[in-house]
Amino acid sequence: MPEIRLLDDRLVSKIAAGEVVERPASVVKELVENSLDAGAGDVRVELAAGGKRRIFVRDDGKGMGADDALLAFDRHATSKIADFDDLERVATLGFRGEALASIASVSRVELRTARDAGDGNLVRIEGGHVRKAEPISHPRGTSIEIGSLFFNVPARRKFLKQPATELRRCVEVMQGYALAHPGTRFSLMHEDRTLLETVPSASGDQDLEGPDIPGLKERITQVFGRELATKLHEIPTDFVGDEEAISGFVGDASTTRGRRLFLYVNRRLVRDRMLLARFYRSVRDVWRSEDFPALFLFLEVLPERVDVNVHPQKAEVRFRDLRFVDRVEEALRATLDLARAEGEAPLGTPRSLPDLPAAWEGLGGRQRVDGNVHHESDEVASTGREYDTNWRPGSPEAYAPPDRGAEVGPPLPAGSTIGSIARPTFEPIRRGDSPLAGRGKRLTPFRIVGQYKGSLILLEGHDGLYLVDQHAAHERLLYEQLRRGMAAQASASQRLLEPVLLELAPAEALRLQQLTPSLEHSGFEVRSMSGTTVALTSVPEGLSADRAERILHNLATAEDLGGSESAGDGDESGETTDDRSDETSAAVRWVRRRLLEEIAADMSCKAAIKIHRPLAQEEMETLISDLFACSQPYACPHGRPTVLHMSDTEMERRFGRRG
């Protein structure tokens, strides 16, 4: 008997379903796409138990006749393309004819559809088998109800998360489509609660006549609130042509806190890595920032010039014209420039400082470009600034001295050596061997060679020379100590005079509600207000409201809390307690970690020993062995390196001893 055999159809369907249908959100996505492709002006979605128990989508699209209603569930049955040429220029969201068949094979489906009001059909399918097909009365359009998703695929069901998480993903999908289709009414209900409701924009849906900018903006306002909408900068209209259009909005510097990146290609929401990479690169170049603002990018190209058939969930696209992406980048850069120029610093205060590690800045007696000859005093100024961690990108405050005296003090006399690294330490260096503990308590023989200009500790290791920045090293050390101390105690909480109101998208508000207990444990107090507004009434002591707000926004939009992918028990109605507690404790840890990072990084920098400070041998030994006992000895809390290594090989090469 041959070992290789053909799989039966139902098994094939189930395997294929895994490609398209991963979780309730992917079902919602496929069904909403169908509704939009059917020309619906009104799409209503109802969910129960985060979509695990029930997904119901109803539209007022063109509907299907009796034969089509049945055929729709066959694999590769579609009305959207007919031949290969059509595939080359797909204008609809779906086209493979896989979605309904896949969904039907793993759930209980009831489809009601009618081309004309009254003259409708009902089809009921369970696990891929047609159970019922009969004429019914139904208004024009289609309603489809998906029950018991994955009832016959327990393995898949186990990977579903708790309803709140699945629900959030569904809401995100709906938000995505709502943003791109301002002419369509969308509503999303979850167990009798309205989570999303958008009204069609007055300017109407102009499908092919270029983007409806006011409509899109209005839709963004409906989904994300007015505050965000006022901070958006429109991509200049120069990028809208006959055959392609690049339009949309880029937020200003204050929108970086929520990761709101929405890319659309012909109204299809994508997460194309190439486009995102171009955006990130543009922000880095134009803003000199690692904080990325909100992006709503709508690309329209002729259907035959873009290949959407490269990814099972159509998350990635390929453009026939490679230079199109360059034009997108050009548009983004132009808009980023606008978004920056009209921001808080009207005349272009630099957004970030040059990437010079603190310790190195003074080492060579670097002169500033403005030609000031007192470079000793310059060093004091520049190192002083380096330790000012209150500095934030884009903050004009950074450039104002904290407290100016009424009078400007006299200049430092020439030859003054206050703080100058050029001062040599002439004391003879005592050389002793001291085995130091490395990471993981492994003893690595290091020998302290000495201190270089009161700033760097030189270590001789078995494989070369190590340079340790004493400030960064001490900073790391204090940071880990603080973090341990803070993790042990509950946070004190400062009440605010007036609550800070956060305007969130529905999915973000849900996420915060889920996290409320862990937030309280960390000293935040939040209260849900009407709609999706959340009021922040207390913040952890020592954290500015501004930073608290930033942390909350990040938390609300974080894609993953870093918790383990835990499995539910697959029961429709509930979760195992493990699932819930796992995700919650992951959240608690996440919130605390973010807080600790923010606060501890700040405090440890202020308390750490500075450069230009001679250390005794014992001090160096303690510092080095403590440093290497840290969980991350190689970077300071701000991410700068603490240790540089020059290997013996490298030195030999440079001395010409080896080729």
Binding site: E344, L347, S395, A400, G485, R495, L496, L497, E498, E541
Partner: protein
Amino acid sequence: MEIRLNRSELVAELVPMQGIVERRTTIPVLSHLLLRAEDDQLKIAATDLEVSLTSSCGGEVKEDGAIAIQAKKLLEIMRAGAGEDVTLRIDQEGMLTILVGQSHFKIRGLPAEDFPSLPAIDAEQATTIPFPTFRGMVGKVAFAISSEESRFQLSGALMKMGEDQLTLVATDGHRLALVDSEIQGLEDSEGVLVPRKALHELQRFDGDDLEFRKGEHHLSFSVGRRQLICRILEGTFPDYERVIAKDNDKTAQCSKAELSGVVQRVSLLTGDRARAVKVALAEEGLEFSATNPDLGEAREELACEASGGTLAIGLNPDYMQQWLSAVETDQVQLQFKDENSQCVAYPVDGDDQRYVCVIMPIRL
């Protein structure tokens, strides 16, 4: 341009300019002062685009002209100059010649046209306010202005005129300070938000009268020859009257100096991160305590007139101290409701119509 003037008089006008100019700026001209010789005086202007200051210094003008000169260097030269007689002259395009005593300086400047044009205030009438009163009021609220740039509506103080009354309010979201003073002749008008930097610089002025003008986007404060112009901060200021709780029924009245001493001593042992002092109100008085998990704890009692019941509340000692150092009276009164509600503090028998500080509690 050529002008002769007195060195000390010039230095006196250059000093307040230093607070306005940007020291670290990407726009070089903002670290400069605009000097313009005309009408028997040297007109001086400084700006950081948000706050501008103009002033003048009498002199003997031989030739009109203008140039922008680096603010810091000009002051240094004038400070160091020997002799009182100064001549400023442009002999060569873009260079200012300074003759002071026996010294001869030639300083590179920037064209006067590059200097930003200062906002004009097209306000009809000036309101006159006694300047010493105003300066005192600023000192009583300035500490509560937020230093968080992003909450820009709080990075200034609200200035509101009422019938024969002037009110200043400042808050950073954690505490709020408000002072009302009686000033005859004022009329009711809408409040404006004055940026912190403007208030800070105004505190260094001297004079008898302040002429205040309000334009569409800018405010002007004139004291003597000096005129400070700043942009009005946009934004909604919190509803401050609502924040000043009227139903705080537990009170403690004590000596300001004693209270300040106790708070200072106990706060020595607050945590590095959580700056909170626990304040317990009992019948015999207040007990202050602080705990630092790494160091230990501190406790001190302060006898005072207490009424209304007992409670324990967490307060930031810095907020208390900053207010106490602005208070001029010997006695102060603290009012509480419960541990989640704000503490409202008043000086007892002060000269102001009302001076109040609201401090939000810390949950310990």
